[in-house]
């Protein structure tokens, strides 16, 4: 149970391995043949909407739900017959699940007491972990006397006190307000690096996943749709679900009309122009595809375009939402389709104010669209 903070994580070692793990509740298949490898020292985020199976997957790792099929290995050991209280894993619950009748101190000591440690050792380790989460002054309080953020820290301390090699976090920041969430995210990262623990985080919040994760798995209806670094998933989503789930995207349906050596041309009816994009996947002429263009990759210029061209359309600004750092414009192009465009707020408020109802030209680079066949 001793994680050595000084030991560098071995990137090649699969610390957690899932082999075709499934979970069925009656007819309903919550987790459908998920195979996954998670490396030592990683922060792996399972991202998905509600009902995507991410929490069920986490609960199977903790041992609260037996899988209906497949195997789970932690550190090379098959976990099938291992009850939760014998797994080298600790979990931070979404509701925190702090023992209401015990003080902060007692909550944190609970796990250590199960290991039959000497009282002095328990006190020392409890003090240590409470200091890390900055909760030492509140050691004698009961959970109901703490704020939401403080409870979150106690829950984290309680889970970390046993020095697990793998910590499971179920929506760790969901109950915190925005400001506190941002601060806590970075604290979590900090603590994770200091203690060298492998984290598996379940979240529905893509921003949270992007900030925390070294790698993430996007889940949809019980399956892992894509695994990759946050940048990989944002820049090269494998299908429309992922493209749409992570960030916002303009999906342009069309038909492949031309194939070059490393580019392709799509005739896009709802757009009224052709889209040229880099060719990064197998497709042939006549295929129906979707070009996914991120709102921040579209260039907006005032005035109508000089003439018809690929990746270039004329439109009229319908709405401008001022967000502070960026403004989001909804631009209705001549065919009636509405595109979302993000403008970074470099020039200040005055620059965007009179954009509403303006006629504009939208254009983008051939490198920007991601072509999806699914």
């Amino acid at each position: 149970m001793n994680a050595q903070p000084s030991m560098p994580p071995d990137p090649a070692a699969a610390y957690v391995r899932l082999e075709a793990v499934s979970k069925r509740f009656g007819e309903f298949c919550a987790v459908d043949a998920v195979s996954l490898e998670i490396r030592r020292g990683e922060i792996f985020c399972l991202l998905g909407g509600s009902g995507s199976g991410k929490t069920t997957l986490l609960r199977m790792l903790a041992g609260f739900e037996p899988p209906s099929g497949g195997r789970i290995y932690i550190d090379g050991e098959d976990m099938s017959a291992v009850p939760p209280y014998e797994r080298p894993v600790n979990m931070m619950f979404q509701s925190y699940a702090l023992f209401p009748h015990m003080s902060v101190e007692k909550n944190v000591a609970f796990g250590l007491e199960q290991e039959q440690l000497r009282p002095g050792e328990i006190r020392r380790r409890m003090g240590e972990i409470l200091a890390i989460v900055e909760m030492s002054p509140y050691a004698a309080r009961k959970p109901h006397q703490l704020s939401g953020g403080q409870r979150q820290r106690v829950a984290l301390a309680r889970a970390l006190a046993k020095r697990p090699k793998l910590l499971l976090l179920d929506e760790p920041l969901a109950a915190l307000d925005r400001k506190l969430r941002e601060r806590t995210q970075f604290e979590l990262l900090n603590i994770q690096q200091r203690l060298g623990v492998t984290f598996i985080v379940v979240t529905h919040d893509q921003e949270e996943a992007m900030t925390l994760a070294t790698r993430m798995g996007v889940m949809d209806r019980g399956r892992i749709v894509q695994v990759g670094t946050p940048a990989e998933i944002y820049e090269s989503p494998v299908n429309r679900f992922v493209a749409d789930f992570i960030g916002s995207v303009n999906l342009l349906e069309g038909e492949v009309v031309g194939l070059g050596a490393d580019d392709l041309t799509i005739r896009c009816e709802p757009l009224g122009c052709t889209v040229r994009a880099e060719r990064r996947l197998e497709c042939s002429v006549g295929d129906t595809v979707w070009a996914a263009v991120r709102p921040e990759k579209i260039l907006l210029a005032e005035g109508a375009p000089p003439g018809p061209a690929a990746n270039c359309v004329r439109g009229k600004v319908r709405e401008v939402a001022y967000m502070g750092n960026v403004s989001i414009c909804l631009v209705e192009i001549d065919t009636g389709k509405v595109l979302r465009v993000t403008l970074s707020n470099r020039a200040g408020l005055a620059a965007h104010r009179d954009l509403k109802h303006a006629v504009v030209t939208l254009s983008w680079d051939a490198a920007s669209p991601v072509v999806l066949t699914r």
Binding site: Y85, F110, Q114
Partner: protein, 288 residues
């Protein structure tokens, strides 16, 4: 709005209590009513005639002291048995699925639909010498003479536990049902085996339910009259029976009132405890 409960208590508790208190300090006599007035009028002024003979009699006669102690012992043992049987039942109901839970709770409450007296009489039919239990055992050849089951401590406890078990189960269930199942998962996650989880997480949190259930059994059983009369021993009677005998057989109302007052004093401590607990529960409920 506090006026209505106060009025209720005044009319149905305080005034009767004061009447009983008054009688307990009066002198017994053969008349209607069977006691002397507490005040006599002398030259238009009330002169109190407080009579302590009833209490002196109660404290000097070991019969009463023994009866009090026996009642407390019966109540304590019955409470303990109800707790031992009721806790697992309440726990199982609280853990059962939604559909089952309603059904099981209905089974707990179902006996209340028949007369209490009838149910106690039914036990006589089961336990007497030529009752069902003895007949079955005789028929199977396990015994050759009927065993005396009725009018023993055994039959008394059977009757009391049977009748009062729901009063233990219902408050315990109300408490256990509110427990967050995530807490047990958290305990398991932190390395606690199921027994440890129960002792350190479930049990401490169910203490208010245990206390409420125990008091709801203990308090009425101390003064219980019907069950000990029908099922209990004849050589050792409980205080409730004593009270009734003094009132209706001896027609010594002052002594009977004294017995009643002493039962009340005896139960003041647990009753106050119960009320404080209920207030705390309500406070905790409004907090969440």
């Amino acid at each position: 709005m506090a006026g209505i409960p106060a009025l209720w208590l005044a009319v149905f508790f305080l005034i009767p209590f004061l009447i009983v208190l008054k009688i307990s300090f009066s002198e017994a006599r053969l008349a209607i009513p069977p006691y002397a007035p507490l005040f006599t009028w002398l030259h238009g002024l009330p002169v109190p005639r407080i009579h302590l003979a009833s209490y002196a009699y109660l404290f000097t006669n070991p019969l009463y002291l023994r009866s009090y102690l026996y009642s407390i012992m019966v109540a304590a043992v019955s409470t303990a048995i109800c707790l031992l049987i009721g806790y697992p039942m309440a726990y199982a109901i609280a853990r059962a699925g939604e559909a089952w839970r309603t059904f099981l709770l209905m089974l707990i409450v179902l006996p209340f639909w028949t007369s209490f007296l009838l149910r106690v009489y039914a036990w006589i039919g089961l336990l007497q010498n030529d009752g069902l239990i003895n007949n079955v055992l005789l028929g199977m050849g396990l015994i050759h003479h009927p065993i005396t089951l009725l009018q023993t401590d055994f039959s008394l406890y059977v009757g009391i536990v049977y009748s009062y078990l729901p009063f233990m189960i219902l408050p315990l269930y109300a408490n256990l049902e509110k427990h967050d199942p995530a807490l047990l998962e958290a305990a398991a996650d932190l390395g606690a085996r199921p027994l440890t989880s129960f002792l350190r997480v479930t049990l401490p949190q169910s203490l208010p339910g245990i206390a409420a259930g125990s008091l709801l059994v203990f308090i009425p059983v101390v003064g219980e009259y019907v069950i000990p009369t029908l099922l209990g021993r004849t050589d050792q009677i409980m205080i409730g029976r004593m009270l009734s005998d003094e009132f209706f057989d001896n027609r010594d109302w002052p002594v009977a009132s004294g017995v009643a007052i002493l039962i009340l004093l005896l139960l003041v401590v647990p009753i106050v405890l119960l009320q404080r607990l209920e207030r705390k529960e309500r406070f905790a409920g409004s907090e969440s």
